[in-house]
Amino acid sequence: MNLLVISAILAAMVGMRFLKPSMLAWIAIWWLGMFAILEFGFAVPIPASVIKIYMGIITLSLIAYVLTDPERVEQVWNPIVAFTVEKRFQPLLVVVGLLIPCVVAWSIYADMTKSKQAPSFARTVHPAPPDQITVHDTDYPLGFADNPYRTLEASAPEEFAARVQAGRDVYYSNCLWCHGDVMAGEGMFAHALNPIPTSFEDPGTIAMLREAFLFWRIAKGAPGMPDEGGPWESAMPAWENFLSEEEMWNVILFLYDFTDYKPRAVELH
C-alpha cells in the first residue's frame, strides 16, 4: 500500500472538515477521497472491476446516509435545486451544460484511441480437478487420495524430515527457476511468463487445497488443465514425465513445511 498517498488523502479530508463544507460538498469529498485511495493508494494497482464494486458500495452507502435523515436530504437537495433554478447560477449552469457533452466526447475519444490490448479473460484461481488421474499406471481418486507420507509426521518424524529434505532437493533442482527461492512466484524465469507463477506464500493457494490437488497440478501441469475456465496460459510442465510419484509427494511435503501452511484435510461423510 502507498501509505504516503493514503495519509495525504486522509489528511486532506480531515482538513476539509475544518472548512465546514455543505453536506453536498462533504458527500462529494468522501466519494472522491475514497476513489483516490482505491485508485492511487496501492503499490500494485487495484483492477478496475474491483474499484467499480467498491465504488458502487460506497455510493450506495452515501445515498443511504443522506436519505436516512430528512434534514440531510434537504441539505443535499436544496443546493442542487438552487443551482438549476436561481438566476445567479445561470452562467455556471450554462458552463456545466456545455461541459457534460464535452466530458462524454472526451471519454469516447479516450476510449477509442487507447492502445490496443490483448483480450482479457476471467481466469479462475483454482481449476477444478478431475475425479481421478492416472500417474505412472497408478490410479489416484483425487477426492479421497492423500499424501501417503503425511502420516509419518506423527508416526516417524525422522523419516518425515528426511522426506521433506528430499522434497527440498527436488524443489531447488526443478521448481526454483519459476516459483522462486522463497516460493513467492518470483524465480529468475518468472518475469518471462505472463502471468507469473503462483506464489505459495499467498494464503489463498496451497493453504486452501488438499495435497492430492497439488499432486494433480504437479503431475499433469498445464497440459492437464481442464477445458472449463480456460484459456489457462500456464507454463507448468507435466512433471510426471520427469519425476517419480515419490518425488512429487516429497516436494509437496516440502512446500507445506517451508511455507508453514497445513494442507486441507480430506473430509469424509
Partner: protein, 637 residues
C-alpha cells in the same frame, strides 16, 4: 320507452362488417358457378398433369418413411427438444418459478401461525388481522405452485423421459406419499384460510400447525430428489438402486433442508413485506397506511430473522458439497462458478444494507428515536467496510495489463480479503451490526425504568464487544492455521454471535419490562422505505434464482453427478452472462405473476360490486331524452 340509438360510427362499422362477410360469400358462390358452368369438352378427358421426377421421388420417400415407421420397433426417446430456447432453459425457468412460489407457500404459514399464536396469547386483534392478511396471499400462490409443479413434471417426462424414468425408479416409494401429502396440504391450507374466525382459535391454530408439518414433509421429499442428482448415494456405480433411504439421505439432503427452511422464512417475509409496501403506496387513508406500515415492518422483521442464520446454513451446505466432491467444491468456490458468488456477495451485502436502512428510516416514526441517530453513521461505516470485504473477489476480473501487474489473478493485498477468514469475519460483523440496529430500533420507543438500566446497557455493550472481538480474533488467527482448523474456527465465530444475540435479547426483555413507551406513529414513514422493502424482495428472489442455478449447474454435464451422464445437446455449462440473463428473466416473470397475486389479494378487502340505481329521468315520466346517457353501472373499487 324511447331507446337511444348507437352512435353513427358504430353503426357504420357493423354495416361494413356485414358487407365484407356478404361479399366473401358472394365471391365463393360466383367462383363455384364459374367452375360448374364452364365449358367441358365432351370428347377429350382431361387427365391429371404428370408428376415431375422430384415429386415422384418425394412421394416415394414419404411412402418409404411410412413403411419404415410401421416396421420399426418402439423405442423410448432419450430426449426431446423444446422449440427455440431448448429443453434445459424451458425446464430451468419452470422449475425456478415453481420453487419460488413453493418457497413462498411454505414460508407464509410458518410466520402466519406464529403471529396468530401471538394474537391468541396476547388477545390483541391486530395480530390476528395481520396473520389473516399474510394468509390471504396463500390461496392463489398455492394454485400457481401446483400448476407450475404439474407443468414441471410433464415437461420432465416429455423432454427428459429416460432420466425422469430413472429418477422415478430410484424414488418410486416416495411418490405416492408425496401426492397424499399434497392432498393433505390442500385440505389444511383451505380449511385454515376459509376457516378463519369460523373455528375455535385452538382448532384453527392446530390446522395452521398441521399445514406447516405437511408442507415441510413435502419439501423434504422433493429435496431428496434434487439433492440426489447432485450428490448421489445409495446406488451402485452402474446406477442400480441399493437403498432408497441412502438415496434420500445423501450428502446434501439435510443441509438443503435446513437451508431451505431458513431461506424460505427470509424470502417469504420479504415478499410479504413487498406486498405491504405495495398496499402502503396505494393506500388512501391513514388507517390503511398505518396497518400496511406495520405489516411491512413485520415482514421485514421476519426476513431479517431468517437472513441472520442463513449464511451459516449456506456454509454448511457448501462444505458438504466440497466433502462429497473436491471437483464440485472447487468448481463452485474457485472455478467457473466462483464469479456468480461475487454477484451473490454483492446482493447479500445489499440485503444487509437495505435491512438496516429500513430500520433506520423506521426510527423516524418513533418519538424519542433521535437519541440513537448518532449511532447510524458508525454502523453504516462498519456495514460498508464489511460489505466491501464480503464482496472482494478472490479471482479478480482483470485486463491483461492488470494481471501482469498483480502477477496473477489475485491481488497481493486484496487477496487477503478474498479468502474465507476475511469473509467469515465480515459476514459475522454484518450480522452483529444488523442485530444492533434492530436493538436500537426496538429501544427507540422505550425508556427503561428498572433501577439497573445503566448496568444492563453496559453488560449488553460488553457482550457486543466480546462477540466482535471473538469474531475478529478468530478471523485473524485463521490466516495462520491449516484449512481444517480454519474451517473449525467458523464454529466459535458463529457461536459467539448467536450467543450475543440470545444474551442481549434476554437482557433486553428484562430491561424493558415496565418501560415507559413513547408514541409510534405507524404510517408516518418516508415512502422511500417502502421501495426498500420492494428492493429487498427483488434481491432475495434474485439470489434464490442465482444460487439455485449454481447448485444445479455444478453437476455440469451430468444428470446424476458421476452416474447418469447428460448426452443431450444442452450438455454444456452456459456462459455466466447467459445464465444470469435466464435467472433475471425468470425473476421478472415471477414478479409479474406475484403482482397479479397482490392485485387479487387486494380485491378481497374491497367493497362488493353494487349497481347504482337508475337515475331519475329528466321528464319524470320514465323516458330518456336525446343526449342522456344510459344508466351506468360501475364496479365499486
Amino acid at each position: 320507452m324511447k331507446r337511444k340509438l348507437p352512435p353513427i360510427p358504430v353503426l357504420l362499422g357493423v354495416l361494413a362488417m356485414i358487407a365484407v362477410i356478404a361479399a366473401a360469400f358472394m365471391f365463393r358462390f360466383a367462383s363455384y358457378f364459374d367452375e360448374s358452368l364452364s365449358y367441358k369438352s365432351p370428347t377429350r378427358v382431361v387427365t391429371e398433369q404428370a408428376e415431375t421426377p422430384r415429386q415422384q421421388a418425394l412421394a416415394e420417400q414419404v411412402e418409404a418413411e411410412r413403411q419404415a415407421a410401421l416396421e420399426r420397433p418402439y423405442e423410448e426417446a432419450e430426449y426431446r427438444a423444446f422449440p427455440r430456447i431448448g429443453s434445459r432453459v424451458a425446464i430451468w425457468v419452470v422449475a425456478q418459478l415453481h420453487l419460488l412460489f413453493a418457497a413462498f407457500v411454505l414460508a407464509v404459514p410458518i410466520f402466519a401461525v406464529t403471529i396468530e399464536f401471538i394474537g391468541y396469547r396476547t388477545g390483541e386483534k391486530r395480530y390476528d388481522r395481520l396473520a389473516y392478511e399474510f394468509t390471504k396471499l396463500l390461496s392463489v400462490s398455492f394454485s400457481f405452485t401446483a400448476a407450475l409443479g404439474a407443468g414441471l413434471t410433464f415437461m420432465l417426462i416429455i423432454f427428459y423421459p429416460k432420466f425422469t424414468n430413472y429418477l422415478m425408479s430410484v424414488f418410486s416409494p416416495t411418490f405416492l406419499p408425496y401426492v397424499l401429502l399434497f392432498f393433505a396440504e390442500a385440505g389444511f391450507m383451505y380449511s385454515y384460510y376459509y376457516g378463519w374466525g369460523k373455528f375455535s382459535p385452538k382448532v384453527h391454530l392446530f390446522l395452521g400447525v398441521m399445514l406447516n408439518v405437511v408442507g415441510t414433509c413435502i419439501m423434504l421429499i422433493a429435496n431428496a430428489w434434487l439433492t440426489f442428482m447432485s450428490t448421489p448415494s445409495g446406488i451402485a456405480e452402474s446406477g442400480a438402486l441399493i437403498s432408497t433411504w441412502d438415496a434420500i439421505n445423501n450428502y446434501t439432503w439435510m443441509p438443503i433442508n435446513i437451508h431451505r427452511v431458513i431461506a424460505n422464512i427470509a424470502y417469504g417475509g420479504s415478499i410479504a413485506g413487498a406486498y405491504a409496501a405495495y398496499q402502503f403506496l396505494k393506500a388512501k387513508t391513514d388507517e390503511e397506511r398505518a396497518h400496511f406500515d406495520w405489516m411491512g415492518y413485520m415482514g421485514n422483521f421476519v426476513a431479517i430473522c431468517g437472513l441472520l442464520p442463513l449464511p451459516f446454513a449456506g456454509y454448511w451446505l457448501a462444505s458438504e458439497i466440497y466433502a462429497f466432491s473436491q471437483t464440485m467444491g472447487l468448481t463452485m468456490m474457485g472455478g467457473a462458478f466462483s464469479w456468480l458468488f461475487i454477484i451473490q456477495a454483492v446482493l447479500i451485502g445489499n440485503l444487509f444494507l437495505f435491512a438496516n436502512w429500513y430500520l433506520w428510516l423506521g426510527m423516524g416514526r418513533i418519538k424519542g428515536a433521535e437519541r440513537y441517530r448518532s449511532f447510524i453513521w458508525p454502523m453504516l461505516v462498519v456495514i460498508t467496510i464489511c460489505f466491501a470485504v464480503w464482496a472482494t473477489p478472490r479471482s479478480i476480473l482483470s485486463t491483461t495489463e492488470e494481471i501482469q501487474a498483480m502477477g496473477g489473478s489475485s491481488h497481493p493485498v486484496l487477496g487477503y480479503l478474498g479468502v474465507m477468514s476475511a469473509k467469515n469475519t465480515a459476514v459475522n460483523i454484518l450480522i452483529l451490526t444488523t442485530f444492533l440496529s434492530f436493538v436500537l430500533y426496538r429501544r427507540s420507543g422505550k425508556i427503561p425504568t428498572v433501577s439497573w438500566a445503566k448496568l444492563g446497557n453496559r453488560i449488553q455493550f460488553l457482550i457486543f464487544l466480546a462477540a466482535a472481538s471473538t469474531v475478529i480474533g478468530y478471523g485473524i488467527a485463521g490466516y495462520f492455521v491449516d484449512a481444517k482448523t480454519r474451517i473449525g474456527f467458523s464454529v466459535p465465530q458463529v457461536g459467539s454471535v448467536l450467543l450475543a444475540l440470545v444474551l442481549v435479547t434476554l437482557i433486553d426483555s428484562f430491561l424493558l419490562r415496565g418501560a415507559a413507551t413513547t408514541e409510534t406513529n405507524w404510517g408516518k414513514i418516508r415512502p422511500i422505505s417502502q421501495y426498500i422493502l420492494i428492493l429487498l424482495a427483488v434481491t432475495f428472489t434474485w439470489i434464490m434464482g442465482l444460487m439455485g442455478y449454481v447448485r444445479s449447474g455444478l453437476r455440469q454435464h451430468w444428470h446424476v453427478y458421476g452416474v447418469i451422464r447428460d448426452t443431450s445437446v444442452d450438455a454444456y455449462t452456459p456462459t455466466l452472462g447467459y445464465a444470469t440473463t435466464v435467472v433475471s428473466v425468470t425473476v421478472l416473470i415471477f414478479f409479474a405473476l406475484i403482482g397479479f397475486i397482490f392485485f387479487l389479494a387486494g380485491l378481497s378487502g374491497k367493497k362488493s360490486f353494487v349497481a347504482e340505481p337508475t337515475p331519475e329521468p329528466r321528464g319524470g315520466d320514465g323516458t330518456l331524452e336525446a343526449g342522456d346517457s344510459p344508466s351506468p353501472t360501475a364496479m365499486q373499487v
